[in-house]
């Protein structure tokens, strides 16, 4: 399913649960959507780096199994953006649901 516009929201949401690295973020999105939200993982990193550049998330390095991993955590600005995005998504999805309910009845 194409959900490019929602990737930012999903990343911010996953990171609101705690710091994580790119692979775990991708896995969380795929697993929690039961594989419906499938995407090419290479494009996750430009989105992460863009959010980092905007100050929405912060990167830090952590040693893991003898190698250094790059983790990301949500910043205060990122948390505020997540609230906004969640609110917008809620309004958007409820508007679409309203229309689809009408379509099922008719």
């Amino acid at each position: 399913m194409n959900f490019r516009g929602s990737l930012t929201l999903l990343i911010l949401y996953v990171l609101s649960k705690g710091p994580n690295h790119g692979y775990q973020i991708a896995k969380a999105i795929k697993q929690q959507s039961q594989g419906i939200l499938d995407f090419k993982e290479g494009t996750l990193y430009p989105t992460l780096h863009g959010l980092e550049g905007q100050g929405m998330i912060q990167a830090f390095e952590q040693a893991e199994n003898g190698r250094t991993r790059r983790y990301y955590r949500l910043t205060q600005d990122g948390r505020a953006l997540l609230e906004e995005e969640l609110d917008e998504w809620s309004r958007y999805s409820s508007a679409v649901n309203d229309i689809l309910k009408g379509a099922q009845l008719s």
């Binding site: 090419k40 993982e41 290479g42 990193y45 989105t47 990167a59 390095e61 790059r70």
Partner: protein, 286 residues
């Protein structure tokens, strides 16, 4: 052996052209991702070679990743260069009339600068999401520009040095050349088609840019693109009719609108550069 090589090739394509420190950091990050994906596939019972292939497939197209990485990491310098190139092209547009007798070099500069500006605009519009109309419009303009250069060059070889070559790049030149137009030929027809294609491209783009909330002066930009597009179509019609009485006023309108367009594009690129940042990669140690 070869699958590892495949990943290195994927990585090389995805990170091509990025500054060395950023490239190294991204390579490390993507390699860790790839290793995790490989380990997971192995834990699911796949043979190593299949696990490598699956891990690589999960990463997707290296070109798509490369485009997206460049849009993030090279945005600032790209937009600054685009602003500079647009400024130079604006200057050339004003002084273009002085180059009336060196049309080939002038045209080539114009085409190269024009394509660079358009590609930068494509990058700028791609940042928030795919804009299909804009992509089609930009490609149409580029095709119009390039084909006019080719047709113009053929025209020169065929003895149609003026106005075939110069009319498209800087119509102000026409006012110096006077009404010494050639008879209508295949070259004129092809040139007219190229000019009209460019005009149509700008008209399509005006619609997208006029609605783009993130751009400054978008109403002015919209108006300049519409006038410029219509002016180009008018010039194309004039070339087809071989009628300087149509070409010259249309060309002047188109040029004035083109000057306004370039000036606004400079502001757009400068603003985009200020809003972008080459990611500092200042990650701290936990």
């Amino acid at each position: 052996m070869s699958v590892q090589h495949d990943f290195q090739r994927w990585l090389s394509t995805a990170t091509r052209g990025l500054p060395a420190p950023i490239k190294a950091m991204i390579a490390e990050e993507l390699a860790a991702h790839y290793e995790d994906a490989f380990a997971e596939q192995c834990s699911l019972g796949f043979l190593p070679i299949d696990a490598h292939r699956a891990a690589l497939a999960q990463l997707g197209s290296p070109r798509a990743t490369h485009r997206a990485l460049c849009a993030v990491h090279l945005a600032r310098r790209r937009f600054l260069r685009a602003a500079l190139v647009t400024m130079i092209s604006l200057f050339f547009l004003v002084i273009g009339a002085f180059f009336a007798f060196q049309p080939l070099a002038f045209t080539m500069f114009g085409i190269a600068f024009g394509c660079y500006i358009l590609e930068s605009l494509r990058t700028l519009l791609d940042v928030p999401g795919p804009k299909k109309h804009a992509a089609v419009a930009i490609t149409t303009i580029e095709i119009g520009l390039l084909s006019s250069a080719v047709v113009g060059s053929l025209g020169m070889l065929g003895g149609y040095s003026f106005p075939v070559m110069v009319v498209f790049i800087d119509p102000l030149v026409l006012t110096q050349l006077g009404p010494s137009l050639q008879m209508v030929s295949v070259v004129h027809v092809l040139l007219a088609m190229s000019i009209v294609a460019t005009g149509v491209g700008w008209l399509i783009l005006s619609d997208t840019l006029g609605q783009h909330a993130g751009l400054p002066f978008r109403r002015l930009l919209y108006a300049s693109l519409v006038v410029n597009g219509l002016g180009l179509i008018g010039v194309g019609a004039g070339v087809l009719m071989s009628n300087p009485g149509v070409i010259i006023p249309m060309a002047l309108v188109m040029t004035i609108a083109g000057l306004a367009r370039q000036a606004i594009l400079i502001l757009i690129f400068v603003r985009a550069a200020r809003q972008s940042s080459d990611i500092p990669w200042r990650g701290s140690h936990a």
